[in-house]
Symmetry: C2
Subunit: 357 residues, 2 copies
């Protein structure tokens, strides 16, 4: 049985059925302009009877705006981004915008292609968690043409006047480090993805927004220590790839070779998981042998015993904020918008404890 594939009923069909011109039908259906109440009746009735559905494509053609925003993120399957996207979608939907999401896996070429595609779809604006690098021509081109853009989570060195919505990475990390310091810890090891030279970061006084999130978090750690007159020991900085297994390996190595570490701090969700696995491997009794503090609310941190103290990010709100910020920019292109850095929250559980000596 061949599927009907009946063509969509258009505004013309409605107009004819209602016995009016298509402009009148349009006015009634769009609720703009004036129409007699009799016209109103007839058109509404005809539209309903025929099952008329407005064609958003045609509308977009005319108006030049598609009521769609494009999002470019590394990976939707990452729980952080999926919750962010839920917040972003909800906020966008509320404001009457649809969302198209594209994943880059942090690959520049894919990012370029994604931007081109979203551009072709004539999205009204873009939220981009850019692949961190010096200068993206693709983004610059869009920006020059006047496409509203908001950076998310990180900006990259080439941000120009584009606002960024992100966690306040630096202070989130201070929060974590301060908590451990408050408990009396001074030998706090940090697991980080940042490859920066420690010296350069220690003296960093520029805009933190120009650094990668991981570096910003490392700066926060250094700053918290410095504020108490402690100079971070190179031995306490554990570098690992953004990979659970590698983090586990690096942490295990360091813990086996450095005796006086009393606290361990993982600076993102993946590294935190890896570090925790190392603790299990080594049979470390936390918080007695070692206080442990992780990043990002992950379900497992509430399921293990003792449960794990973490720095929580307001994921949903980050997404929602990015959406409202972009929509603000779409509606008022002239207005200058400031960066928005949302604060993290410390969720204290049972893995961190007062240092007893």
């Amino acid at each position: 049985m061949a599927r009907p594939t009946r063509p969509q009923v258009t505004i013309i069909d409605v107009a004819i059925a209602a016995g009016v011109s298509k402009s009148t039908a349009s006015r009634v259906l769009a609720g703009r302009g004036s129409a007699s109440s009799s016209a109103h009746q007839k058109v509404s009735a005809a539209a309903k009877k025929l099952g008329y559905t407005p064609n958003a494509l045609a509308k977009a053609m005319k108006s030049g705006s598609s009521n769609t925003i494009g999002v470019v993120i590394p990976d939707l399957a990452n729980p952080f981004f999926s919750t962010v996207m839920r917040g972003l979608s909800d906020a966008a939907r509320t404001a009457g915008f649809e969302v198209i999401i594209t994943n880059t896996d942090n690959d520049v070429d894919i990012e370029v292609r994604a931007l081109a595609l979203l551009d072709e779809k004539r999205v009204d604006g873009l939220v981009i968690a850019p692949v961190f690098q010096t200068g993206s021509e693709a983004i610059d081109t869009l920006r020059e043409r006047g496409t509203p853009i908001v950076f998310f989570d990180r900006s990259g060195p080439s941000r120009n006047s584009t606002p960024v919505v992100s966690l306040d990475h630096l202070n989130a990390s201070r929060l974590a480090t301060d908590h451990l310091l408050d408990l009396g810890h001074e030998r706090i090891a940090i697991v980080t993805e940042a490859g920066n030279d420690l010296e350069s970061l220690r003296e960093y006084r520029g805009d933190p927004g120009l650094l990668r999130p991981s570096s910003q978090r490392l700066v926060g750690y250094l700053a918290a220590l410095a504020a108490r007159g402690i100079t971070a020991d190179r031995e306490l900085v554990i570098h690992a790839e953004y990979d659970r297994a590698d983090a586990a390996r690096q942490v295990r190595d360091r813990l086996e070779n450095t005796r006086d570490i009393t606290a361990l701090y993982g600076t993102d969700s993946v590294l935190t998981s890896g570090a925790f696995l190392a603790l299990l491997d080594l049979g470390v009794k936390y918080p007695d042998d070692l206080s442990f503090l992780g990043f990002d609310d992950q379900e497992w941190s509430t399921m293990v015993r003792p449960s794990v103290t973490v720095v929580s990010q307001p994921r949903y709100r980050l997404g929602a904020t990015a959406a409202t910020c972009l929509i603000e920019r779409i509606r008022h292109p002239e207005a200058e918008l400031d960066d928005i850095r949302l604060p993290a929250k410390l969720t204290i559980r049972d893995s961190t404890a007062q240092l007893v000596r």
Copy 2:
């Protein structure tokens, strides 16, 4: 500094710059029809110089297809769906389709509105994880009009000839139950969201696709037991809301009041988390006191000790399959498509062990 908002360069601009008609420009740019190599050169050069970007909206208007598919799911922030969506997006992208995702939170009204919106956007097809209920007028209307639709994860009683892509819920559950039976367990408690009467399910011989996933899983459990000549005991069926805390409460209650349970099986990710928390609360030593088996690969099941045996769903592949299935349907609307039920896999870890008596 006022933003330029330079208007997009159109095919006409390119044509003029290249000194040809817009039809020729179109032919070259779209790579259809014939054009002299000199025209080719000139147009390509002009397009590049002007930074021409085709307008997908206009294309869609003409062609009637937007190369976009709409997806309706309960909640993108749910790790199951976010990974599914990653698979779906990747597969769709590969085939040249963009994806628009909408969340319903399992609310029928929101679902109806979401469908209307996607319809207005003139998506080429829809993947729907429907709110389970008897008959959705909104879906029927779309289907009658010939919109290609694929159900995902569940279908609902009103599926008609619409294919469904889902896990093979029933056999997934048999797999789990059989594993426990193989280990010698017979008093296997099951945590389920299904509210069905046990008798009716025990004798159910209809199309499992007509049941909710939770019921299908309960049927699988019953079938596995029946195959070994065991009649499921009503006392072993722990009903809980789709809520971690409630599951924890119900499991705690039952475990405290029923002495001879030797294995516990959670039938979805949320209920499994709750059940596990109850075990922790009660101080149950698994797998010695009790074998524990969960559903869905969640990170925590690998982070706790002993680690937890689970039934894993091929999330990414489920999503990718839904996409290819829908695209198949879009390209060949006449073809009848069968349901696709992907098999689950048992991931055996340390929480299940041979029953010693």
